[in-house]
């Protein structure tokens, strides 16, 4: 297994460590490349039945009656279950991740098109689907609330009349920052710029849709659930709480997962349906949603209507940022975020700038749309926050007639200010922004690009250069601040070294494609000197791994990565004591070099970690008080989040005749602290940048006025292909996190967060000759053409 020495200057050399961090092919790829991955839909159990779900055809309606008799008479149907059945079992409603409840199957009303109404369990998938056609539901159709701006009108129909005393569609108000101080700064500022900015509803649309196989064993009351889950341990606990099953009798297994992006964090009604189906029939039951079900019913992302305001001096010193947000949460508040953060980490909308004041006021409302607000690689709403600030800073640059790069550099938080407390209370751990920005400018050839742009503009061509600089907040999180439904956001890790010096590391986080089996082997290898190839990584099975909250919000490396490093150090500490016995010297006289302890000043006298492993399990004596074996377990509680940053530059060309946008170049310089496997980081960045092209240019879950979802297939909901993206140009700087054991920060979502503003800024820059300061995503040709004619329209 090869590693390379792509170790940036300025942090610890690993000369004294034989293997570990560096560019290395992914250990899991051979099985994926050969089609040997094992996904939930690959699970086949003897006697397994299939579940299909009947969904609401309309957005808002009272259920008058449901007749299931014809479906029950279908020869292959084993069970038909409605909301009424579930009410009898006490399972008709389930808690969401944010203190609301959501119907597993509708009992009284349907509240969005695609909502679960009934399910069928049948001998095969075809029969289950056929039987859905035989269920007769009578609906009394109600007026839907689709326009989020009208959700709080006194005349608006009340969607959540299931909630005691609910007389409107209001969910919560939330604020952060200092309203009065911000108002004072705005009142006396030279320049104030405001802009209405919409981040439309999008969907994570993973390749693999959601699904599960539930196998309830009636004899020993044990439930085994193969599930598309990003958080198997958290799900197990929630099933225990919701279904009243004892937690030790539940095993949740997340096998290979085909992409999550946050969409597989929540528990969806379909999982509960399959579990109920298995309990009712006594057989294993598989439920795999189809593409349309995935797009129309599982967690959406974004859907923030924002008013951004920025105050500055005439010479470009940014003083304050203020925003007012109307958040569309759909029919149930299903946002996945730590409990005390109803708007996720949107509070980092102050960006990478040293401000005097900041304030945000947010109102969240119900509408007759699918619930969610979970997802799409957003780091808990940082996508929206970064988009807002990076767009409004560009609007300021436009008004001040300043170069957007110069404006940003002038206002960066300075390296000596870290750790930096923002005006909304976040403690940025480390950062050195200007070198990152300079590196991006250098790769892009920024000055030459501006010259080229001037020449092209003179010829009537439309070329745009967009810049975005982001600071992310990832690795939730410190248990004193962060929990999900009472579960602290700490993560466990267990390491066992076998007698022959091979090892197994067991993680509480779950890969959906991030390459955990490689990265975590490298983290352990770096600390303990066993090659990554000799370290097996086990994850995704609650019976096999320690408790933890799973993978989302770029938290695997900041939280579990720290746990893996620390558990390896704990094992190494024990190995040192055993080595001291083997070499008959005191612990203090040992030096750790390249996977072996040797006596200081006598490198010949040494024992390798493999020698020590055999001794730990062997027949010989161990030092006084030391137990046999070589293993350890820890639970890591992060001290703070980690704050990666990055500078992105996008170049677009727009066809003046057709208004089509072509992304010509994209430069991404990321700083995620210590880089464990640069190849995997680059892969993650490429993915996120591609996401960004999708969101900026084509993706949107739209609804018509009746609440019909217009994005229910991949023909209607477009995601980008290789033809829409340029050759990505990536670079990096390294500012280690001061509190993370190996200085690493999360990176999985950085590019998704940072790329949309860079692309939109580039498009708006290209449209400068038309006097355009802002245009909303998705910048489809038709919408760009509107902007070119001076009539940019919001997407909702």
């Amino acid at each position: 297994m090869t590693t390379t020495d792509e170790r940036p200057a300025g942090f610890e050399k690993n000369d004294h460590k034989p293997v570990g961090h560096g560019r290395m092919l992914r250990k899991e790829d051979p099985r994926f490349i050969r089609g040997k991955g094992r996904y939930v839909d690959d699970v086949q159990l003897p006697g397994m039945l299939h579940c299909a779900i009947l969904r609401a055809p309309v957005a808002h309606a009272r259920i008058v009656s449901i007749d299931t008799s014809a479906a029950e008479a279908h020869p292959k149907v084993k069970a038909v279950v409605t909301g009424a059945t579930l009410t009898g079992l006490g399972l008709a409603w389930m808690p969401t991740l944010s203190g609301d409840v959501q119907a597993v199957l509708a009992t009284d009303k349907v509240r969005f098109q695609g909502q679960e109404v009934a399910f069928v369990v049948a001998e095969d998938r075809y029969a289950a689907r056929d039987a859905l056609e035989l269920i007769d539901v009578e609906y009394d159709v109600l007026d839907p609330v689709i326009d989020v701006r009208k959700a709080l009108d006194p005349s608006a129909p009340v969607i959540r009349d299931d909630l005691d005393g609910k007389r409107n569609n209001h969910i919560f108000d939330w604020e952060t920052g200092d309203e009065a101080a911000t108002e004072a700064v705005f009142a006396s500022a030279d320049v104030v710029v405001s802009e209405d900015i919409v981040y439309p509803r999008v969907h994570p649309a993973p390749m693999e849709t959601c699904g599960c196989v539930a196998d309830y064993d009636r004899i020993d009351s044990r439930l085994t659930l193969w599930s598309t889950s990003q958080a198997p341990h958290a799900h197990r606990t929630l099933y225990a709480i919701v279904a009243g099953l004892p937690e030790h009798k539940i095993r949740v297994i997340s096998p290979d997962i085909g992409g999550g992006f946050g969409g597989k964090v929540p528990i969806y009604p379909g999982y509960v349906c399959a579990i109920v189906g298995s309990i009712v029939t006594g057989k294993p039951v598989k439920w795999m949603e189809d593409r349309s079900e995935n797009l129309t019913s599982t967690g959406f992302a974004r859907d923030y209507i924002m008013r951004g305001e920025i105050a500055a001096t005439r010479d470009g010193r940014i003083l304050a940022v203020r925003t007012n947000v109307l958040a569309d949460h759909g029919a149930f508040n299903g946002v996945a975020a730590p409990v005390k953060y109803p708007a996720g980490f949107f509070g980092v909308f102050t960006g990478s700038y040293d401000l005097q004041a900041a304030y945000c006021k947010m109102t969240a409302v119900y509408t007759n749309k699918a619930p969610g607000g979970v997802a799409y690689a957003c780091s808990f709403r940082i996508t929206e926050a970064v988009y807002l600030v990076e767009r409004i800073v560009d609007c300021l640059a436009y008004e001040l007639k300043m170069d957007p790069v110069e404006l940003r550099i002038k206002n960066f938080i300075q390296p000596e200010q870290f750790p930096y407390r923002t005006k909304t209370g976040w403690l940025y751990d480390s950062g050195d922004y200007e070198p990152t920005m300079r590196k991006a400018l250098e790769i892009a050839g920024y000055d030459d690009l501006r010259k080229e742009q001037a020449e092209r503009r003179a010829r009537g061509e439309l070329m745009g250069i967009g810049v975005a600089f982001f600071t992310e907040a990832v690795g939730a999180g410190p248990r004193k601040d962060m929990d999900i439904l009472g579960l602290g956001m700490a993560d466990g890790c267990e390491l066992r070294v076998h007698p022959t010096g091979k090892a197994v590391v067991r993680l509480s986080v779950q890969s959906q494609g991030q390459g955990h089996e490689t990265t975590f082997a490298q983290i352990v290898a770096e600390e303990i000197g066993i090659p990554p190839a000799d370290i097996d990584v086990v994850h995704g099975d609650t019976d096999q791994t320690p408790f933890g909250l799973g993978t989302y919000g770029s938290r695997s490396t900041p939280v579990s990565g720290a746990a893996a490093a620390l558990v390896a150090r704990k094992v190494r500490d024990k190995a040192r004591i055993i080595a001291s016995g083997m070499l008959e010297v005191s612990v203090a006289d040992l030096e750790w070099v390249k996977g072996a302890f040797h006596v200081k000043g006598d490198p010949e006298k040494s024992v390798t970690i493999q020698d020590i492993a055999m001794r730990a399990h062997g027949a010989g004596d161990l030092p006084e008080g030391i137990e046999g074996g070589l293993e350890a377990q820890i639970c890591y509680n992060p001290e703070n989040l980690t704050y990666p940053h990055g500078a992105y530059i996008c170049v677009v060309d727009i066809d003046p005749g057709t208004a089509q946008v072509k992304v010509r170049r994209f430069v991404a310089v990321d700083d995620c602290g210590t880089r464990i496997n640069p190849m995997i980081i680059e892969g993650q960045v490429h993915r996120g940048l591609t996401d960004g092209v999708g969101m900026a240019l084509m993706e949107m879950i739209a609804f018509d006025e009746d609440g019909n979802c217009l994005g229910g297939s991949l023909m209607d909901y477009l995601i980008p292909t290789a033809l829409e993206v340029p050759d990505w140009e990536t670079g990096f700087t390294v500012t280690p996190s001061p509190h993370h054991p190996i200085g690493a920060k999360g990176v999985g979502e950085s590019a998704t967060v940072g790329s949309p503003p860079a692309i939109v800024n580039a498009v708006v820059d290209a449209l400068r000759p038309f006097g355009i300061r802002h245009a909303d995503m998705p910048l489809t040709p038709s919408r760009v053409w509107d902007a070119m004619r001076g009539v940019p329209r919001p997407p909702v």
């Binding site: 005749g657 208004a659 023909m715 980008p720 292909t721 038709s782 053409w785």
Partner: protein, 291 residues
């Protein structure tokens, strides 16, 4: 996974066999060629035929491109990929290659057929616009023999054609005239998407003047549209930017786009103009390049 309703399936071994099956099964049967439109509709249960007659084994009989001096004949089972790769066809009608380059993706093009594309009669379909532009005719065969219809006769509305229940489209015929060329322009939201608008143009020159010209548009009306007003305005004129502009304006006036997820009606009308202009310009440039 989306699953279709129960359906019976039979593979036809010859055109006559397929027509015999259609005669016996009537309107409850559908032919399936590439299946890239029908199968997704069945999986979404927008279509639920009782019988599927698979005609993929007829590729030997109906998969051909015959370029003859006065006419090009293309079998209905000719795959997109074959249309894309045929140098002989591109020589006479480069519009086919232009269009095929922007139809779906290689996986679809390996399987989808000319006949299937036309019979689907989607108003946004590219090959329909190409055939309309070229003034092609369609050979329809039934139990009692063949009949030939023009593209205008072939389309009866969105997703509706002149092909009756017990008939099948077997061939497309395109007249070849001297000193002509053609081009296709499409704007899509993303590679592989249906057109927001597309425009085909075919031009024939005689002594520096336009002897004849045709323009076909997709996605701006109930069917792909051939614009006689544009042809009338171009005939006998000398090619020029002003003329293309004028033709584009006529095309924009003559179409009837609607606002949808792909774009506003206004934008589509603008595209009809812009793409007509571009397709005409490119067609004439191609004739001139050939000398």
């Amino acid at each position: 996974m989306q699953v279709p309703a129960p359906v019976e399936y039979e593979r036809a071994t010859s055109v006559d066999h397929a027509i015999g099956l259609l005669e016996r099964l009537g309107g409850s049967a559908r032919l399936v060629a590439g299946g890239h439109s029908l199968l997704p509709m069945m999986k979404l249960r927008l279509a639920s035929p009782e019988y599927l007659i698979d005609i993929n084994d007829l590729h030997g009989e109906l998969g051909y491109i015959r370029v003859e001096p006065a006419e090009v004949r293309i079998g209905a089972m000719t795959r997109h990929r074959e249309l894309l790769e045929s140098g002989e066809l591109a020589e006479v009608f480069p519009i086919f290659r232009d269009a095929e380059r922007v139809i779906a993706d290689p996986v679809v093009r390996n399987r989808g057929t000319l006949g299937g594309s036309l019979c689907q009669a989607d108003p946004s379909e590219d090959l329909s616009a190409v055939c309309t532009t070229l003034g092609a005719s369609c050979v329809i065969r039934g139990g009692s023999g063949e009949r030939v219809v023009t593209m205008e006769e072939f389309y009866r509305g969105p997703y509706e054609t002149a092909v009756e229940d017990a008939e099948m489209l077997v061939e497309i015929r395109v007249p070849v005239r001297p000193s002509g060329s053609s081009a296709y322009e499409k704007v899509e939201r993303r590679a592989g998407d249906w057109a927001i608008v597309s425009a085909g143009a075919a031009v024939w020159l005689d002594g520096g003047l336009i002897a004849d010209a045709r323009v076909g548009l997709a996605a701006v009306g109930p069917n792909t549209t051939g614009l006689t007003a544009v042809s009338d305005a171009l005939r006998g004129r000398e090619p020029s930017e002003e003329l293309y502009e004028q033709a584009g304006a006529l095309a924009a006036d003559s179409c009837s786009p609607v606002t949808d997820m792909r774009g506003s009606a206004e934008y589509k009308r603008h595209l009809a103009k812009e793409l007509t202009r571009r397709a005409l310009r490119r067609s004439v440039a191609r004739i001139n390049e050939r000398g």
